[in-house]
Subunit: 289 residues, 2 copies
């Protein structure tokens, strides 16, 4: 299969490495020629270009750019494609993207491989990045079944665990486990920075260890990623933030009113429940969407 | 030196391993005889007992029990000690402990080695646990300088970075970087559990990956630890929770009112500031307290 990849960063580059290993021909497009050269050098693509028209022979094109560029790039790309070409993306938000791109290209199917690293860019692309990780596919009523089947087959070949759901279900679920964590984690850093006593602030910096490190990690990550989550999944991020505020308020009340038994019960529930999120490997669905 | 350790868990056991390696004689006391036997077997103590009177020859005693037992154990221990014996503890809260124990034993000095692991118990004790980690010593006006000097010397021999500050300063700083993270991290789990749609809840569990894992880690930890932080550092935990609520409220307002430039600035500030907490190695103070 001829596979196009627009955007040769961590995700695009890692997809390319795997697809080439699986015997596909990979055509890459990057904004900068140097990125394409790096992708060729590391084996992520067979050929690279800065021009979208280089993808005209592709059977499927993966859009792996930042979220806010996906619609514009798909509009630029479409004139070069044959009607059979499947278009898909890897954005961490699905509703806004599916709504934006589907009217331009009915043969579009949204996707979201749940893989990431702290670092970004082609230099950190790696094979097998998607193995044993969830790959969410979000067709809508008008999505051609062939497009879904082809994407499912490719994702399965990556050894990813394929799940299908609606864009709205995806966005609500990832608000909880991906976008809300970024917001609450960032607010931890912000709250510490706003401690008015400079001596305490300095002492806190000196004493911070693994607990602070882990809890603040995603909140101290790439600012653009957090911004895109909030902008493109705004309603679900807001909904989760509002629910979270209630939880924090209830917790604060328990402490303020010395309700230690109730606090202990709550902490115990959290302790027990966490393993359901952490040990859980996604259950791949087998039903055709 | 003869060093007594009451409570042979991760911290008590690890202190014992290091102090024996450094040539001291270590006398351990555990509630259960089996724990003492395990401590002898792994080399954490020279001798072990379930009786506090076994520590009567100790030059210094480290209280390494859970926070809520420290005062009661110190009261039971004191009749067996000679007046020169230094008493110290390793609790993660200092004000409440220093206030409680000092009136009983003026030769008490509070301490807090900032080392921990997810697991607890003598089985996970390890040598060098405190190396390159902060060891906070919190003398008050009445604390004998000898007690501080001896503890400082022992902590330095562990290769820990010794800092001194008041109990109040310690408690305010650790509220930010240790206790608040536990509270906000636990509330993330709680908020996810309270998603009313069972299908979304299940999907969220399936999709949770490293971001959720890290952000929820300390909130899903040992319930008793979180409870003790809240009970024994109640006022500072409340203060940090209230400041944090304001941050979350401000963030929510930015998203709700589409203030993307302001949100981007905030996320960028967090991104840049985090390294001050993470890269920071404590600056050991050299001044006598």
């Amino acid at each position: 299969m001829k596979i196009g990849i627009v955007g040769l960063g961590l995700i695009g580059g890692s997809l390319g490495l795997d697809f080439r290993r699986l015997g596909h021909q990979v055509l890459g497009v990057a904004r900068r020629a140097a990125t394409g050269e790096a992708a060729i050098a590391c084996g992520a693509v067979d050929q690279a270009s800065t021009e979208l028209q280089s993808l005209q022979a592709a059977d499927i094109v993966f859009l792996c750019t930042p979220i806010h560029m996906i619609e514009a790039i798909s509009i630029d790309l479409i004139p070069h494609l044959s009607p059979q070409t499947i278009l898909t993306d890897v954005g961490s938000v699905k509703g806004a993207i599916v709504d934006a791109v589907t009217p331009h290209w009915p043969n579009f199917v949204g996707g979201h491989p749940m893989a990431g690293k702290t670092e970004v860019g082609i230099a950190v692309a790696e094979p097998h990045l998607f193995a044993q990780r969830a790959y969410v596919i979000t067709p809508v009523a008008t999505t051609p079944t062939t497009a879904v089947a082809v994407l499912r087959e490719l994702a399965t070949a990556l050894q990813a665990q394929v799940l299908t759901c609606t864009p709205a279900q995806h966005d609500r679920a990832v608000a909880w486990i991906s976008h809300l964590p970024v917001m609450i984690s960032g607010s931890l850093i912000q709250a510490c920075l706003n401690e008015p006593d400079a001596h305490i602030r300095k002492l806190a910096e000196s004493l911070a260890s693994s607990g602070f490190c882990d809890t603040s990690r995603v909140g101290g990550g790439h600012p653009e990623l957090g911004l895109m989550m909030a902008r493109y999944n705004r309603d679900e991020v807001l909904r989760s933030l509002q629910a979270y505020q209630q939880e924090i308020q209830q917790l604060t009340t328990l402490v303020a009113t010395d309700q230690w038994a109730a606090l202990a019960a709550r902490l115990t529930e959290n302790h027990q429940a966490r393993s359901r999120f952490i040990q859980s490997t996604p259950e791949p669905d087998t039903a055709a969407p």
